[in-house]
């Protein structure tokens, strides 16, 4: 009975971030840049370098694939900037995908904002028609539902008053009311419930449930309100950094997964974009947890996989007192240990060179327990001065270990204790 209504395959959306100028393009700049580019193309040595500096690709969505069945209520969650809104924009055809395909059966109406196109000078009545048309309703349809819309919003008295004279509550109620009376097969809603008072939010939620249950419509719903997601949705998709991290019909487990890994913005890398900590001995450029292939680790890893701490920076003046390393903390903020690159005999110290130096250190397998870890940077001149000090001015990166604790069938879950090393035993 319930067929696939939306099918998304390998969807990707790329933005080019222009580091050169912020905001809008200026025609003059474009003209002069093109002239510059032309001259640079004659002189190939400068060309590549400059282009790399100026443009950076950014995938707001990457390899997104999922299916939605008719009648599903899909909650899309994720922290700010994880690609939720971009996904909705692509689904509602506001912006085009860069890769991939989407198949949609049926009429789709998107509600990315309450009261899109409302004009303050127009009356409530006029705005209902305007907003309805913008959302894809026909005039006849609006006419038929007009009284219902007005009654739901509770603005009967003010229907012929310009909406700029409305209180913000009335304005919102009217706007939502129009949207709630849309009759598409698929309704795409972004964060609508973030506005209005508690009572109105409840009313909206009830209406959305009605839309789905009574009329069997499909709803895609983005929200930060986990209660609303849990109450309304029968399926959840968790996005992070443009990828689907977790999805499933067990909404509660997706939500708890999200809440567990997302207290703050915790990523596996830090780039010194602001040119902080500049000094001749070691200026940090890049600090990350990577796997063996050099990919930044952003998702939970097993405790038996390789985790490399990578520290990259520039040296202008080689100083033998330089200390580079890291401090690692668990989620209870307990310091596990410090590790420095020259913890060994002096004649075995790695040679530092002027320019870029990359320090890599492997965290032993089967050593850390399940949980979330924070790594802070150590850069200092031994007995002379701190450059970057943990718990003072250090940037922090994060990674999560989940599973892989031991090969024994007995220990599948987190062990008691701070560490979970697998040590060698002999039975004599």
């Amino acid at each position: 009975m319930s067929y696939t209504i939306i099918k998304v395959e390998n969807l990707g959306k790329k933005y080019i971030i222009d580091h050169e100028h912020n905001g809008n393009n200026n025609f003059r700049e474009v003209v002069t840049n093109n002239i510059k580019k032309f001259f640079n193309s004659i002189n190939p040595s400068t060309k590549k370098q400059q282009q790399q500096l100026k443009k950076e690709e950014f995938w707001a969505l990457k390899d997104i694939s999922f299916e939605v069945k008719q009648g599903d209520r899909v909650g899309i969650i994720g922290r700010n900037g994880s690609g939720k809104s971009t996904l909705l924009k692509v689904l509602s055809r506001i912006t085009e995908p860069t890769t991939g395909k989407i198949y949609i059966k049926g009429r789709i109406a998107s509600l990315l904002e309450v009261g899109t196109g409302f004009h303050p000078e127009l009356t409530g009545r006029e705005n209902i028609y305007l907003n309805g048309a913008i959302l894809g309703m026909s005039r006849a349809e609006i006419k038929k539902k007009f009284d219902e819309i007005v009654a739901f919003a509770g603005v009967e008295k003010f229907i012929d008053t310009p909406v700029k004279r409305y209180s913000s509550g009335m304005y919102l109620r009217l706007a939502f009311s129009v949207a709630a009376h849309l009759e598409p097969e698929i309704l795409v809603v972004d964060e609508v419930l973030a506005v209005g008072d508690a009572e109105f939010q409840k009313k909206c939620l009830g209406k959305m449930e009605d839309v789905n249950k009574k009329e069997g419509r499909t709803v895609l719903f983005v929200s930060h309100n986990m209660n609303a997601i849990e109450q309304l949705c029968n399926k959840a998709i968790l996005l992070d950094q443009g990828r689907i991290v977790k999805e499933g019909e067990d909404v509660r487990s997706v939500i708890s997964y999200y809440l567990a890994f997302d207290n703050n913005i915790k990523t596996g890398y830090w780039i010194n974009t602001e040119n902080k900590f500049t000094n001749p001995y070691f200026t940090i450029r890049y600090f990350a947890v990577e796997d063996d292939c050099g990919n930044i680790i952003n998702e939970p890893v097993r405790n038996d996989s390789d985790i490399n701490i990578v520290i990259e920076g520039d040296i202008k003046e080689v100083d033998n007192a330089l200390q580079v390393g890291y401090a690692i903390y668990n989620e209870d903020n307990i310091l596990l240990y410090w590790s420095i690159f020259n913890d060994i005999k002096e004649n075995e110290w790695p040679k530092l060179k002027i320019g870029k130096n990359k320090f890599v250190s492997k965290i032993p397998k089967r050593f850390l327990n399940e949980g979330k870890y924070r790594v802070e940077l150590i850069v200092a001149l031994y007995f002379r001065s701190w450059i970057i000090q943990p718990e003072k001015n250090s940037p922090a990166i994060f990674f999560t270990i989940q599973g892989g604790l031991s090969d024994s069938p007995y220990w599948m879950i987190k062990r008691p204790g701070v560490l979970a090393p697998v040590l060698k035993w002999e039975v004599l």
Partner: protein
């Protein structure tokens, strides 16, 4: 409902065009509503209201009469100079407001563009309708002026819709091109008034086409507003002024080129509007 479920929409990089013209038909109500909105909002909270539609060209006409007729003493092909100027003023005002509105329309509606899907070409097209309404109102004044000067309307007036259509498409082709550019390069916000001003000088609003040397005329006719204005005068004067077929033909060629080019560019950049605006 089951019938609508059969509609399968495929969204794919670079392939959204397929549904475009079909969508355009589906979204025609939005076109009416947007045009209606622009019309009803235009004179809200003004004391003079719709009178502004009349006052603007009328006052300009008076200035023109003083400067060009009384001071510069330009010829007016044996028609009362006020009528001569006003009959050119009307299509010119129509064009200039339509073009500026269309050119700025996308930016003015950026909230719609970034939040809802619809064929974007509706926006510049709808914005032109407002100017058409203004035109209609001031056209009544023209008729009044003609009666005042005992200059009776003739059957020639029936050709006016043709010239209006040419004006509409000139403004639409050029306007949608500039509007698309404006989304990315806000410089065009400043280019538009300049273009309008420049256009006024290369169109026979204040003066007569007869003043243009014969050898430059073909070049002069490239501006489609020349044929519109001359045609308008010709229709108003009942065929008494100089108006040639080649003006219309050359003008129409320009209009076609403007529209093909403008719409193509618009369509090409349209997909990125929501990202750039």
């Amino acid at each position: 409902m089951s019938k609508q479920n059969d509609i399968e929409l495929i969204i794919e990089a670079g392939k959204t065009e397929k549904n475009y013209w079909k969508d355009l038909l589906e979204y025609r109500e939005l076109f009416y509503i947007l045009a209606l909105r622009d019309i009803s909002v235009r004179y809200k909270q003004t004391v003079m209201g719709i009178l502004w539609a009349i006052l603007q060209p009328f006052l300009t006409m008076i200035i023109f009469v003083v400067v060009f007729c009384k001071i510069a003493k330009l010829p007016s092909e044996n028609i009362p100079y006020p009528i001569y100027v006003f009959s050119a003023m009307l299509p010119w005002t129509f064009f200039s407001t339509a073009f500026s509105n269309a050119g700025n329309s996308l930016i003015a509606n950026s909230n719609l563009i970034s939040k809802v899907y619809f064929p974007r070409i509706i926006i510049p097209a709808a914005s032109i309708i407002v100017s058409a309404v203004d035109f209609t109102i001031s056209f009544v004044i023209l008729i009044g002026m003609m009666l005042w000067y005992s200059f009776y309307p003739s059957m020639y007036l029936l050709t006016i819709p043709i010239f209006l259509l040419i004006t509409f498409f000139t403004a639409f082709g050029l306007g949608s091109f500039i509007a698309a550019l404006n989304v990315k390069y806000r410089d065009f916000k400043f280019v538009i008034p300049f273009m309008v001003q420049f256009g006024l000088f290369i169109s026979p609003v204040a003066y007569s086409t007869t003043l243009i040397p014969e050898k430059f005329k073909l070049l002069y006719y490239i501006n489609p507003m020349v044929s519109v204005i001359d045609g308008f005068r010709w229709a108003v004067s009942g065929g008494k002024t100089d108006f040639r077929l080649e003006e219309v033909i050359i003008g129409l060629v320009t209009v076609v080129i403007l529209n093909v080019f403008g719409i193509l560019y618009f369509r090409k950049t349209e997909k990125t509007f929501a990202d750039v605006i």
